[in-house]
């Protein structure tokens, strides 16, 4: 196995500040960062090929570069810890076990973009992690890693934990910002992008937890070193992968970016399919990623290779489905989730997701019609790419891929007027 940054620390022992300082070079990157010019930090992050770990995979250094140097308005750095994509649970471990890594990453990020106010917007269900983060933040304040004049640098950074209230859409960055501001959690029209006008109207960077925890490593060991960790082009560092579903060893794993195929992850890393059954399907990047069949898993598990086969790495949540599970029931359940989580602002998502759910429900329960499959594909096409935010795509992509790739399963439901596995 190649070098890992995180997994060796993802345990209870690692949490205290003392461990972080002694075993993880804690806050040394911050000291180093203060000797650098903010632009040089951003340049180093650009060099590292760090791509956003939340789902979209946008190059982090480039994003930081969008922040205007001079701004009459206060700038903000917001950590997206909503981790709402089903199947994803890596950020939870990072916050639970290495909270100081996130704090250090945020202070460096704040210094780089010229922001003195940070928020961690954490998923409402992560009550324990919110408490642990607060304890770590209190420690950091006490030791001078947060607050005024951090480590004598003259730089001030205040960090606040803000708990969400359980909405998927608040993981979408502008929905998150609305929620943070106390408004209804629904996405904003873009442009303007948050880097121009984000939280409270100020230039804002929203980064995922894992993205920010990468920053101290990059500063300490250099962007080039980080880039070289990646085994595919344009993708630096390691990836934390949440593997769930019908595998023998579900959990959070770490691999060098692009070092393995989906097959290797399922069979070599996660121990193969539960009860040694056959693989039916894999959802590679959280429930919004189009599905892969058992024949399609010899693809390198990283952003570009997965995009090439029509799906996405998303939040690196691999959901594995064995042959004895009904894929119609699965897509019905996934679609129910998106219909429930649609914010309701825009027409195609509000109306279309529920419609797809209703049709899928009928099919799964033996009331499907021959024309339903064409209908589903058309509804999905009418949603895909036509909504205000990416939630519509997240709902439509899976439906399209399931209907196309598992057509026989759907037809068996419709013709047999029942779910064959029910």
């Amino acid at each position: 196995m190649s070098e890992t940054l995180y997994v060796q620390h993802l345990n209870e022992e690692a949490r205290p500040l003392a461990y972080y300082l002694s075993k993880m070079d804690g806050y040394t990157a911050l000291k180093k960062a203060f000797t650098m010019a903010p632009d040089d930090i951003t340049a180093e992050v650009k060099k590292s090929n760090l791509r956003g770990r939340g789902g979209a995979g946008f190059p982090t250094g480039m994003k930081w570069g969008f922040i205007p140097k001079q701004s009459p308005k206060v700038k903000y750095l917001v950590c997206n810890a909503d981790e709402s994509e089903p199947g994803t649970f890596k950020d939870r471990d990072l916050m639970r076990y290495t909270p100081h890594l996130l704090i250090e990453g945020m202070v460096i990020g704040g210094f780089a973009i010229g922001s003195s106010i940070g928020y961690i917007y954490i998923r409402g269900e992560y009550t324990r992690e919110a408490k642990l983060l607060q304890i770590a933040i209190d420690e950091a304040y006490e030791k001078g890693y947060l607050g005024k004049n951090i480590l004598g640098s003259g730089f001030t950074f205040d960090l606040t934990v803000h708990r969400g209230a359980g909405a998927y859409i608040c993981g979408e960055e502008t929905g998150l910002l609305n929620s943070l501001e106390g408004k209804r959690g629904e996405p904003r029209v873009k442009p303007p992008f948050p880097a121009q006008s984000g939280a409270f109207g100020g230039p804002t960077i929203v980064n995922n937890v894992e993205t920010l925890t990468n920053v101290p490593f990059i500063i300490n060991k250099g962007g080039e070193w980080f880039a070289k960790l990646g085994k595919v082009e344009k993708s630096g560092g390691t990836r934390l992968i949440s593997i769930s579903g019908h595998v023998k060893k579900p959990g959070v794993y770490e691999i060098a970016a692009g070092a393995m195929t989906v097959r290797q992850l399922i069979y070599d890393v996660a121990g193969g399919i539960l009860n040694d059954r056959k693989l039916k399907a894999v959802i590679p990047g959280g429930s919004s990623a189009p599905v892969l069949t058992a024949d399609e898993i010899d693809v390198i598990y990283d952003i570009e290779p997965l995009a090439k086969v029509g799906t996405m790495m998303g939040s690196a949540a691999l959901m594995v489905v064995s042959e004895d599970y009904c894929v119609v029931r699965l897509i019905e359940r996934i679609t129910k989730f998106y219909a429930h989580e649609s914010c309701g602002q825009c027409t195609p998502c509000r109306e279309g997701c529920k419609w797809m759910e209703d049709v899928l429900h009928r099919i799964e329960h033996g009331h499907g019609r021959e024309e339903d499959l064409a209908l589903l594909l058309d509804i999905a096409d009418n949603i895909n790419g036509k909504t205000l935010c990416a939630l519509g795509d997240a709902a439509a992509g899976p439906v399209t891929s399931f209907v196309k790739k598992f057509k026989a399963d759907f037809e068996a439901h419709i013709r047999g007027k029942r779910c064959p596995s029910a």
Partner: protein, 469 residues
């Protein structure tokens, strides 16, 4: 001016103008629901999506400013498919109760469905329904018809200045309602109905009274205050059914206050005096010649004061100015209209939106003609002639013998010697001058009710009666 291409047509634009407006000025219609030129852009309905060269996805025209050389297609296969798709999405849960919907005939949903929708319906699931709450006296809510465009929410927040309309629940269950289900508070609530692109928010005042397509529309000006908001009077068979704001970006934009909107009610009110009346064991209907005799008898040989309502037009006031000295020699003239607003100097904004303190439309015009405001009855006044357009508040006449000329309601004139019925603001043409000195035209929308007559005719009758004596 910079130019872009829309559907192969060259279109000039002002920097910052969005594609809906640019297309409109080039004669191309881009359909929309949530967009409103007076409200912030939210790009929620997705009806206005167009194809733009060099952009992979369809773009919402409302949120896309035109740029130099931009090539836009509003009628490409993709754009058309999306228009039909949005129409389908909006209608799957819509009750399609157009036959009994007051919005029918002037409904964006209906019109856009006709133009851009599909002939067939594929939806076979159960429709979504809501239980409606009462929103107070102005607006009737029918949530089942709602398409969640949020114009009403934005109108409240951005124009009325009150956050009372909100979205609750989410996704498919999203409901547009008031905060905590409370009744609406704004005195601009009628606009909620105007901005609603469906029959979800309708005026209780207009509900089930008339199909929209039977209404004849007259562009006129509100007489509710000195602001001079532009309005449209809508009538059928000589009955006014409603008044709606008419766009004027320099005065009222797209809005109208409820006071102005519902002011018209006195026009068709059963208590309005529209045949001549005089005292005959109480106020009693009579004919013109008898009423004129009574009126003349009431002022004959007396020191007369003439009160001129600042709800009269310039033309009427001018007429009074020239005729009064002949008809009532030695009479003093004053204008009146709003308690506490004696002169133009007392008129000021009454809120931060539209309303003015002067509750009559032509105070500033009358001052321009040299009339002074009424403060107290001149000493020795023995009879008073009150000219009124229908809106001005008649001051306390202290029991002096009075003759009314114009529009009055029965309870106002129980003690008057006679009333000679005149025309209200929807029954005559004329000019009014608003607070900023802008001259605007009142337009006749309906004919004179009963036996009421223009002021010029009444003065003529009076003069000829004097001459025949």
């Amino acid at each position: 001016m910079p130019k872009c291409m829309i559907d192969g047509r060259e279109a000039e634009f002002k920097p910052g103008q969005n594609l809906i407006e640019v297309a409109r000025s080039a004669g191309i219609e881009i359909p929309y629901f949530c967009y409103h030129p007076g409200l912030t852009v939210v790009a929620q309905c997705r009806m206005c999506t167009v194809e733009i060269d060099k952009m992979a996805k369809l773009q919402t025209a409302c949120s896309t400013p035109a740029t130099e050389g931009m090539v836009v297609k509003t009628q490409s296969e993709r754009a058309k498919k999306n228009q039909a798709s949005v129409m389908e999405f909006l209608l799957i849960n819509h009750p399609l109760d157009c036959p009994i919907c007051d919005k029918s005939g002037e409904c964006d949903l209906q019109d856009n469905s006709y133009k851009f929708g599909d002939l067939y319906q594929r939806y076979t699931e159960e429709r979504r329904t809501y239980v409606d709450l009462d929103m107070g006296p102005v607006i009737k809510k029918n949530m089942n018809r709602c398409i969640h465009c949020t114009r009403c929410i934005r109108f409240g927040d951005e124009i009325a200045g009150i956050h009372e309309m909100v979205a609750v629940q989410r996704g498919n269950d999203t409901e547009i309602t008031t905060v905590d289900g409370r009744p609406l508070e704004t005195d601009y609530a009628g606009n909620y109905s105007d901005v609603c692109p469906t029959g979800s928010l309708t005026l209780k005042d207009f509900r089930f009274k008339k199909r929209a397509w039977f209404l004849k529309k007259t562009a006129t000006v509100c007489e509710g205050c000195a602001k001079g908001c532009n309005m449209e009077v809508q009538q059928d068979a000589n009955v006014v059914y409603r008044c709606l704001p008419r766009e004027n970006l320099e005065i009222n934009k797209w809005w109208l206050c409820d006071e102005g909107r519902f002011n018209y009610h006195y026009v068709n009110d059963s208590r309005r005096i529209n045949i001549p009346v005089h005292q005959s064991g109480g106020l009693a209907p009579t004919n013109w010649s008898a009423a004129l005799s009574s009126a003349r008898a009431a002022v004959k040989g007396k020191k007369v004061t003439v009160l001129i309502g600042s709800d009269l037009t310039q033309e009427e006031a001018q007429l009074a100015k020239s005729q009064v000295p002949t008809l009532f020699p030695g009479a003093e003239m004053f204008h009146y209209g709003t308690p506490g607003v004696i002169s133009a100097a007392d008129d000021a904004p009454a809120d931060k939106i539209l309303k003015r303190k002067s509750k009559t439309s032509n105070l500033h015009g009358l001052e321009r003609l040299g009339f002074k405001g009424f403060t107290a009855m001149p000493a020795g006044t023995q009879a008073v002639v009150v000219l009124r357009g229908g809106r001005a508040t008649v001051p306390d006449l202290k029991g002096v013998t009075a003759v009314g000329v114009g529009v009055f309601s029965k309870p106002q004139v129980e003690s008057f010697a006679a009333v000679l019925p005149g025309l209200s603001f929807v029954e005559k043409d004329g000019t009014i001058v608003n607070f900023e000195g802008r001259e605007q035209k009142l337009k006749k929308a309906i004919s004179a009710p009963g036996q009421s007559k223009p002021l010029s005719d009444i003065f003529k009758l009076w003069a000829s009666a004097e001459a025949a004596r």
